[in-house]
Amino acid sequence: MIEVERLGKKYGTRAAVRDVSFVVQPGEVVGLIGLNGAGKTTTLQSIAGIIRPDEGSVRIAGVDLATHPVAAKQELAFLADEPEFFEYMTVEEHLLLAMKLYGTQVSTDADPLATFGLHEMRSQFPNELSRGMRQKLAMACVLWRSPKALVFDEPLTGLDPVGIRDTKEVIRAHAARGAAVLLSSHLLHLVQELCSRVIVLDGGRVVGEHEVAALGRRVEEPLERLFVALTGGVVDP
């Protein structure tokens, strides 16, 4: 479970996030959507412990991130919008690093690199990979274990159609086994397809929280109309 309560973060005098509260239940996939600069990445990075919020609290699987950061992060997997890698470490070494960081070994019959189509590239350096493959490497390093909470910032950007399909399946699988999943994306049709609930941010505040099922059956339009209406755009009649 991911619990965010009255989260606030300022950059100088500008409030990037104000009074943001929500809960992602186990087994739930929640989408965080908003315009550029709405505060999505700040919110997600605050949940991941990268940014220290000025106000409010974050709890991962019931553990407070501020008071017990190590225990909270142990249950969390974070995938950044632009994954960064250590320049002089190979693909395989990154996976080994992830295992060392989380103190777990992957079972011998599972090869996360093969799962994400990186088997042939295990001795290559990250800067030799395409953007999509880098994204897959980041996922392989994050999703080989079974965290109780997953936070994805634009997880589908840069992936090929097969990669998008596989990633969607992986996200569904983790939710099905009881993980709380929070993801942000500008691809509204994918958000609608994957998520059971959406939270709309605008100007650093939560301006709407809706069950996707209640929006209607048509694939793209209902969420797009809702998004445009909530973020101050003009809705076509």
Binding site: K73, Y88, K100, L101, E128
Partner: protein, 545 residues
Amino acid sequence: MKFAPLYVIWRSAVNRGKQQATDIRYVAVASVVAGYVLWLLARRAPVGGGAELEVVAALLLFVVTAIAWWQGTDRLAVSPAARQWLIAAPVRDRDVLLFKLAALQGSIALSALILVSVARGGTGFITVLHFVAIVVVLNTFECHRFTVAVLRSRQDAGGRGATLVVSLVRIFFVFACGALAFTAGRALLSAPPISVDAASRGLFSAVRTSPVATGFAAFLMFVRPAFSQDTREWARAMVLPLVVLGLHVAWLANARITWSSRDTTGKWRAPAPRPAISNGELGVAARWLARYPATALLWKNLRTAGRTQRLDAQIALIVGIPILLSLTSLPPLRRLTEFACGAAATWAALLVVAGPLFVRCDLRLDLPKLRVLRTWPVTNAEICAAEIGASAIVLSGVQLCLLVLGAVSLSFNPVVNVPPQTQLLFVTTLVVVLPGMNIAHVGAHVLTAVLFPAWGPLGAVSRERSSGAGYFYLGVVASFISFVAVGLAPAVVGATAGLSVLPILGSTVALLLGALLASGVACAEGVLLMRVAARALGDFDFVRD
């Protein structure tokens, strides 16, 4: 899990070593550097060392510590990869600090090796002890920078205790700087006029012994083990640095770190926010420069140069130090003018020989953004020309200011009786020669950066921290060598032409003609280096390099 961050350092070092060991360029230069260091170590008669060097080392430590307290440090700042891998992972703060400290050990060891070989030489046991002492001192200083960064981040988060500590230490440094300047001023005043040797001897002696400079004594004691003459003295002197290091480690191991946004978002070096400039508000020169892609690149780099902290700090140093020291030697005006002239000449000379190490608003900063530059409608030659031109312009501008300062100081000095015409001729000659030399010299540095992008001050990455002192020394040596190399042909051509017309046209015309020709040859060299750099830039492979 605890040592997972160290795994990153170990594997990165091994892979980086393997990669560079298979590249003939890096192997060749590394061999030359290793040979140079071995030659320094193998000298029979140790040179350097002694009281003067001890004072200089303590003074440098004093200055960098004061700067750390005054400006803050970026020691807690983490790379984007470390941010995503370590901060977001279940890793304790102390392990992240351990990771950052461990990552410095390679450069600290190399720096210690170079410093000990330059200062002393010899391969005896005492040299090993000096090496250990420098490693301990550099590690202590880096831990101190961590401490400052932790305190400053607490201060940013509203911690009153941290604010009090930072303020008290700042007050100490203000008084200590004043006391040092006063002591130095008195020492300079008591020396005979125009006797650099006597003045420097008096200065070193005063700084070491004056009761006014008592606050400085701790820094002298701190660097003493690196200058000890025997094992027993070394062991005694090592007590202080080891105790200080132990205290720092103990404090940092238990410190609760408040990672600030600037540490985890990589915005530490972001320039201060400025109002947006619309095209309509651009000056005439800027509008003209921004008309063409290549000149727009030049304009971008000039704007960057004006907005970077490093340039601000240099200008503050160039202007501040002479003013501070001049004020302490108030009564006789000639002292002030002598000092101003000397300081200007020293800075100008340093900038001539090693200027491109300090002014880097060129391709060395833009190499990581080369992908973007390649999308612009400019040729590689235009990119190189614009990039080299920016640094050369900035360097020439600063040198010109120093020349004017030196000339004005000299004209007010009654002791140095140089006729105004001679001064004017001298300044004019330098004004003609220096831009050409700067173009050639910056060109050499830029070419080196393109050829060795993975290396420190020689390449694209700047290593300005104390742990990179060895790299900086190597950079200065390399810069000096490249300056001599690019200056040889212009000097020969200029001197030959000047001497050949001297009997016919007189000294003034001969000097100016020689300067013009030397500048022309230097410019031609710069163009040649630029073309080679452009060629290398065309072959630049992001994956390989």
